[in-house]
Each structure stands twice: as C-alpha cells, then as structure tokens.
C-alpha cells in the first residue's frame, strides 16, 4: 500500500482542493484528513459518518481541595505555569497543563491526581469517493501530533480491510508535530505551493522535514498565473532541490464554486483547474507506480 501525503508548509495553498479531487480520480483509495486542527475534506467529500470514537490523548492535573495543604510545591515544580494560586487556593489551568505529572509527584499531601481527558474525535465516513478517516481536535487541546498518528493507524486498518492500494493523506500546514506525524511512514509527499515569496520560503522548510522521512518529493503549483515570475522561481528552486515538478493549476473561480457545492472540483467543473488537476494526477499516478 502506497502512502501519499499532501503538504504545503504555508496554509491555504490548496491541499484539500487537490486531495478532494484525487479522491474522486483515484477510485478506491482510503482518504485521510490529518489536518486535525481544522479538517475540511469532509466538506468536499460529503457522505455519512459510520464510526465516531473519542480520542483520549492526554492527561491533566486535578487538585483535590480537601487534601491540598497549600504548600505551593506543585506550582514550583510546574515548568508550564499551569498552576496558579489565589491566596491559599491552588488552581490548574487546563490549557497550560501538559499532563507531565511533576506536580502530582511532588505533592506531599497526595492531593493531585492525573485525569485522562478527551482531546478529540476520530471519524470514519463512507463518501461517494471512498472511505474517509478524519480527526477533530477539540479547540485548545494538546497533542495534535498524537491524534494524527491515531487517525493514520485507524486509516491503515480500514485500508487493509478494504484491500486499498493507496492511502491519500491531507496534511496540515506548518512543519511541527502534526506535520511530522503526517509524514511518518509516507512513501511520497506532494507539496502544494502558490507563487508567492511566503510559499517559497515555507516549501523549502517543509521539504526539509519531508526529507527526514525519506519520502519522494513532488510539487504542484496552484494559482500559478497570479505571479508567473514567482512561479518560475519556485519551479527553478524545486529543480535544484530535487523535487519532481508535476504541473500547475490556474486561478479558477470554479474551485470556490465546487467548494460551495460541496464537491471535488474535478467532479463539479470541467474548467481549467479541473483539467489541470486531472493532468497532475495522471503524472503522479505514473510516478507512484514506478
């Protein structure tokens, strides 16, 4: 089974637009949305949730007021400023608590216990374009990388059951823990860039991360006609970096129209963006088969 991850570094360059269309073109791939902070692929693919499981990814400290002796040892041990005192009353700020347990260890009164907390959900949906597995991190929760790992584990399980040959993964922006978790185990990474200085800067950083995992690197340029000069600069950079260039997608209002209709652009439109995405998919499929 081949694992393909679509990433970008910079957000909003069109990852989900491409993955949604690839899902429609690939037929029988298991599709995974690893942008657990802000998952959007289900908006394009639609379908019906057939499984929803809670994700319990971390713990948080809880202080038992009855036992607390207000000595302050916990606040002193905490490196994340998660324990605050108002007079003799000690509080845990759950948004700052990383769940390390240092406070519980140092508490002389045994007043702190670590409680498991639910940080999100993992969904499996049947869509017209194949099975979709996606995660949803509750706002403000930690450990999105761990949730990404769980989402991928579930998706690999589904793919084995279905005998799917392709795991098509929508990554998240950035280069930090969720992106690293998305890339782990990936055979190939497709970077979606747009012609801007920001996107060029970001694609070099995310390519650096993808190289750590030995993934084959591909590039597609979205909205390439917005700045032909920068598009050229990005293509040159990609060639220098050993990234295989697959093609460009012109700016096309049909992409937003498809989003409004809740459908992949290759299904909803036969405009220039749809045609370009089909061309890119054809090349990518050929490369992956090699």
């Amino acid at each position: 089974m081949t694992e393909l991850v679509v990433i970008s570094g910079k957000g909003g360059t069109g990852k989900t637009t491409l993955v949604g269309s690839f899902a429609a073109l690939a037929e029988g791939a298991v599709v995974v949305d690893c942008d657990v902070d802000a998952a959007n692929l289900h908006i394009l693919l639609g379908g019906e949730v057939v499984e929803k499981r809670p994700y319990r990814g971390s713990e948080a400290a809880a202080i038992d007021r009855g036992k607390c002796v207000a000595c302050g040892a916990c606040a002193e041990a905490c490196r994340f400023d998660a324990i605050r005192a108002e007079g003799d009353l000690y509080y845990v700020d759950p948004l700052s608590c990383e769940g390390c347990g240092a406070c519980a260890h140092v508490c002389p009164a045994g007043a702190i216990r670590m409680e498991e907390r639910q940080s999100g959900w993992i969904y499996v949906s049947r869509t017209p374009y194949g099975t979709l597995v996606h995660g949803e991190l509750l706002p403000g929760e930690e450990n999105s990388g761990k949730l990404v790992t769980r989402v991928k584990m579930r998706a690999r399980g589904v793919a084995r059951t279905e005998g799917a040959s392709l795991l098509l993964i929508d990554g998240s922006p950035g280069i930090g823990c969720p992106v690293i978790a998305s890339l782990s185990g990936a055979h190939a990474a497709l970077i979606v860039a747009e012609p801007s200085r920001s996107a060029l800067h970001d694609l070099l950083r995310v390519a650096g991360v993808a190289r750590h995992f030995g993934s084959r690197l591909f590039l597609a340029l979205n909205k390439a006609d917005l700045s032909p000069r920068l598009a050229e600069e990005i293509r040159e950079t990609a060639a220098r970096e050993g990234i295989t260039y697959l093609g460009e997608i012109p700016y096309d209002e049909g992409v937003t129209a498809a989003q409004l209709a809740g459908a992949p652009v290759v299904v909803h439109s036969d405009g220039p963006a749809a045609a370009a995405i089909q061309g890119i998919w054809g090349k990518l499929r050929g490369e992956l088969a090699r």
Partner: protein, 310 residues
C-alpha cells in the same frame, strides 16, 4: 457532517481558572488568528502594524514559528538572536541502575530502559523535569537542547521579533512562550498567530486583549472560523473579524458572524492586484496607500471592543 465541537475539559469545575491576567496599563495586545491557513493573517497583521506605526509605538511578534513569513513583508534589520532551549535529561550511565523509574514516570514516552540500554528520544521530551525528580540515585541531570531561535530587530519604527522552529523539531509552543516574554509593556503589540486551533494557537492567544479573526467567505473559511471563534471564547478574549477575498464564495460567513454577534471590522476584496503584491512580498498598505486609513479605522474598532472587554 461534524457539528462544531462542545468544549469539554476533562477536569472538575472547581479547578477551572480564567487565565486572563489583568493589566491596567500599556498598549493593546492584538493577536491576528484564523483557524484556516492562508486566509491573510500576515497581510492583515503587517498592514495594521505599518498603518499605526507613525502614530504609536508598535511591536510586531511573528508567532507562526513553524512558517514565519512576516519578515518577508517587513524586511526587518535583525539586531540580535538567541537559541531557544528546553531542558532534557542527561543520564550518568555509571550511576544509573537501569531501574526504569524515569521511563515509567515519563508520560511522553521519551525514555525507555531496554536491558542494559537507556534510550532517550529528545523530540518527544517536553522538558518537564520529572525524570530527574524520580531518579532514586540522582543519575539524571538536565542539559539544554536547542529547538529553535528567537530573532529581534527593527522594521523602520516597528520593533520586530520572531521565533523560528528548527526544521525537524516538533514542538512550537516553547518557542512561542519565550517569544511572548519579549512583549513590550509600553507598545501596542501585534501577534501574528499560526493557523489552526491547537496548542501553538492557544499559546499565542493567552493573555492578549483582542483576537482579530481573518477569514474568507467560503465553506472552508466558515468551518475553521467557527473553530477559531470557539477558541477565543474558551479563553474569554473579545473578537472581531476581517473578511478577506471578499466577493468570492457566498454570504454564509457574514450571516454566521452576525448571528454570533462578532463585528466585521474590515472587508478586503478579491483583487488580483492585491494577490500580485502579496506574491512579491509587498505589504498591502505599501502597494495601495489608500488602505492605510481603513486599517487605522480597523484599529479604532479593535480598541473600542478590547477596551470594553478589559
């Protein structure tokens, strides 16, 4: 399909605390955030800073440490930098008895004892120090490990700072935490937040006076705006919205904001000339100076809303 998630913190109410510290003096602290990536956070944050810098002392902090971009638009002269380090365990193998207490205590799976070997995975370590506390023979000391850098300097009259996560490192939050310690008490501070709703966003938003949510009028924009707004509400921070690429999509973002009582403080139209200036790294207000007044009006809106929340 998925309804917006309810906020559930698995912790009893008595332990809850409102994390907003009260500050009576100093400039307003504004975080520019979005949920969805690529909606125009940096465009808005940079233009807001440039439009105000002639009238007020402005500090700009790029908190998108995974992919910082504001320097491309502000071209700051960097005056200094320093590494961001977290403390990680160093194990004295002569003293270590391989008892495994450290590995058992570590909740992040960063330590393992296998036979005679002690394995440490630095990228999993949060630097909490618990392993050193539990070691019965004092074999663990803590040493700094670099995970990124802070840089600071000036972009004209603007005080500039940014954090940079080293490529291959997973943890952005410690860098944002340290960058925010550089917040000037007597400047208007603009923080360019990372996309998303996870821990790096929370770290950026903690303790700010106002969050400016930049969105676009599309289904993806709406979905992620909803999530970003719930984060702002969880933190108890007043919020306003900027709609970018106004004119594409539909009016569902406007309707949502109206229903939620979130004012739209600025609309930036979809315009290829604006996109072209962005592509070249030219700030919106530099390419189109007529926008300066609109960004100053945006700030007036923020100041009145943030004042009401303070």
């Amino acid at each position: 399909m998925a309804s917006p998630p309810a906020i559930t913190a698995g912790i009893v109410d008595v332990n809850r605390v409102t994390p907003r510290p009260s500050r009576v003096t100093g400039g307003v602290r504004i975080a520019v955030a979005s949920g969805k990536g690529g909606t125009g956070k940096t465009t808005v944050a940079v233009s807001l800073a440039l439009s105000l810098s002639r009238y007020e002392g402005v500090q700009f902090l790029d908190c998108d440490v995974e992919e910082p971009n504001a320097h491309i638009f502000l071209s700051p002269a960097i005056e200094g930098s320093r590494p961001v380090e977290i403390p990680v365990p160093e194990i004295d193998l002569d003293r270590c008895t391989r008892c495994g207490a450290c590995a058992k205590a570590c909740r992040f799976g960063a330590l393992a004892v296998i036979g005679d070997r002690v394995l440490f995975h630095p990228e999993l370590c949060h630097g909490c120090g618990l392993c050193a506390m539990v070691c019965p023979v004092g074999a663990i000391s803590e040493v700094p490990r670099e995970i990124g850098r802070l840089e600071w300097g000036r972009a004209g009259p603007i005080r500039f700072g940014r954090g940079i996560l080293a490529v291959g490192e997973p943890m952005a939050t410690p860098i944002i935490r340290q960058l925010k310690r550089e917040m000037s008490p007597d400047h208007l501070v603009i923080l360019d937040a990372p996309p998303g709703t996870g821990c790096p966003v929370i770290e950026t938003l903690k303790g700010v006076d106002f969050v400016l949510l930049v969105t676009e009028p599309t289904p993806f924009g709406l979905h992620d705006l909803r999530l970003a707004l719930s984060v702002a509400r969880e933190l108890g921070i007043p919020a306003g919205a900027v709609i970018n690429r106004y004119g594409i999509g539909d009016d569902s973002v406007e309707r949502f904001l109206r229903e939620e009582g979130i004012p739209v403080l600025l609309r930036i139209p979809m315009d290829r000339r604006i996109a072209a200036a962005y592509a070249e790294g030219i700030p919106l207000v530099s390419a189109f100076p007529e926008w300066e007044g609109r960004f100053r009006a945006l700030y007036q809106g923020i100041a009145s809303l943030a004042g009401a929340g303070r």
